[in-house]
Amino acid sequence: MQVSWIDPDEIARLTAQLEGPLQRDEPLPWDLDTLPDISSQFTMDESDSADPPELADAIAAPVPESMEQQGATPAPAIEHIREKLRAIRNSAQDAGLMPIAKTATIERSDSTAIPVSDSPAAGIMPSRTPVRIPPAPQPVTESAAKIPDSHHPSSTPLLPPGSSLTERLQCFIPWVQSVVPCEDILLVDDHGDLLWGGPSRADLALSVVLAAGAGLQSGSDALTRSSVFIRSRLGEQKELSVLPCPTRYGMVTLALLNATGLSNENVTSLREALKLCIDDSAVAPAIKGQA
């Protein structure tokens, strides 16, 4: 089986271009902004305050026009990246490295989202990483206990200890719905692969990655601070709330479509729960005997 699943034909085409003769004698004046300044298309939000303090400065101010553009006709460069991601995803599926969504969907009545597959962490599961990551030393119950149940009755999802990531996500996602009602929920890893969300959401995944990337690139580490999230408007009717969250498998981003009632407090809980859900998922049985 091919493990690198990059397309040899594509590589051949690119290397030919790189090794071939220069197309022109004089370099073209190139545009410094060869990629769209995506940071200008997103706003970051501290959920409880309409006007987030220093963060507004940390990330470029929103440009209203480009926000609308983003929703209607995406900039050519974005369209290009989108195509790229699509092609990469297709070749992954062709190579059998990424499950095709239809084969393993599990319909759930309580959630609009469906897991991409039975081994949902397409991009982050140890099975696809060469090095097996040992389970986090902390048992699930202990980490969960950090958030006092008495104060926030629903502040953590019930995650069966020692469960696999699939099982955990199946508990986590409905819980997110119950905390923050929204039209759809996506989980995207830092390669843009959907860990959760129907295949029809692949293009939303790109918006999620761009939003998270823009926020993170702006150098503001406040972005992963517990109560901060990014608001990304996708046209008139759609808004994504984007919460990048560092996990032990890299950045995993939770995105909520048209969420209602996000608050400082529940953004914090969402992030903590997501981290718990992923970090403590079992690659080996959970360690017993710890309080």
Binding site: I6, T15, L18, T34, P130
Partner: protein, 269 residues
């Protein structure tokens, strides 16, 4: 003088490690070598004292221009020098006005040439945009460390595509080679990736030698040192860099280039 920039789409692939160790090996082989740290989060010169870390460096030059020589720190190895990163924060905080940077970079490289460096390695921040794009476009060669891992290799097509786009714009930068790093010989997947990449790429684009995954690198980068300097006897992985340096010399034509400049100099003398 030949300028070689590192490039990668992602961070943590081993650019800085390659740069430091390669520079050290080149210097040991007698080339007058300078490492320029252009990554605000890079670790070159981490082991320098606090006061030297606050020294002016690359970003100060991008901001103000002027003379390059005072920004260069000598090392104990006479052939190896370092230009630290300098004050990246104040440069990048002014909304990153980069329009003047390509010209500043050209000026910097001109000055370094006059200072008689044979080879300048520019260690970049991840991504091929912003300052890193300017550096890659402004260098004659680009060196691409690539982790021999199934997940990491995904970024290769995008990187090549970006470089092809630069080339289509008329940028003259050439690929010195893709250098496989963090190859785990015990891990089947890592070996497979290496084999597959080797099958896909023409030999002209891929270094023969690959860098193994070795925990000693971690130790060395914590100290900001080339691997050969953390032990009395250089560990095997350090010796590999001698071969990589030899390969790079061939790839970028360093000996021929030096001959040329020397002949040139002797005509002038």
């Amino acid at each position: 003088m030949i300028a070689v920039a590192t490039a990668s789409q992602k961070g943590g692939v081993g650019k800085t490690t390659v740069c430091i160790n390669l520079a050290h090996a080149l210097a040991r082989r007698g080339w007058n070598t300078l490492v320029v740290d252009t990554d605000p989060q890079g670790g070159i010169g981490l082991s320098l004292s606090r006061s030297t870390r606050k020294r002016r460096g690359f970003y100060d030059f991008l901001q103000n221009g002027g003379e390059a020589r005072p920004l260069i720190l000598p090392t104990r190895l006479p052939e190896l020098s370092i230009m630290p990163c300098g004050d990246s924060a104040s440069f990048l905080s002014q909304g990153a006005k980069l329009d003047r940077s390509p010209e500043r970079l050209r000026d910097l490289l001109r000055q370094l040439d006059l200072l008689r460096f044979d080879c300048v390695l520019l260690d970049t921040a991840a991504g091929l945009n912003g300052v890193s794009e300017i550096i890659v476009r402004g260098s004659e060669w680009v060196l691409i460390p690539q982790q021999a891992e199934p997940l990491a290799v995904r970024s290769l097509p995008l990187l090549l595509e970006t470089l092809a786009r630069f080339r289509a714009d008329g940028t003259r930068t050439r690929v010195a080679g893709i250098l496989l790093t963090m190859l785990s010989s015990q891990l089947d997947a890592s070996l497979k990736v290496a084999r597959e990449v080797r099958a896909m790429l023409p030999p002209s684009l891929l270094f023969q030698q690959a860098i193994p995954r070795d925990p000693l690198f971690l130790e060395a980068s914590a100290l900001g040192l080339p691997l050969s300097l953390i032990r009395k006897n250089p560990p095997p992985s350090a010796l590999l860099f001698d071969q990589i340096a030899a390969e790079l010399e061939e790839r970028i034509g360093l000996p021929a280039h030096k001959d040329q400049t020397h002949r040139h100099a002797s005509l002038l003398d």
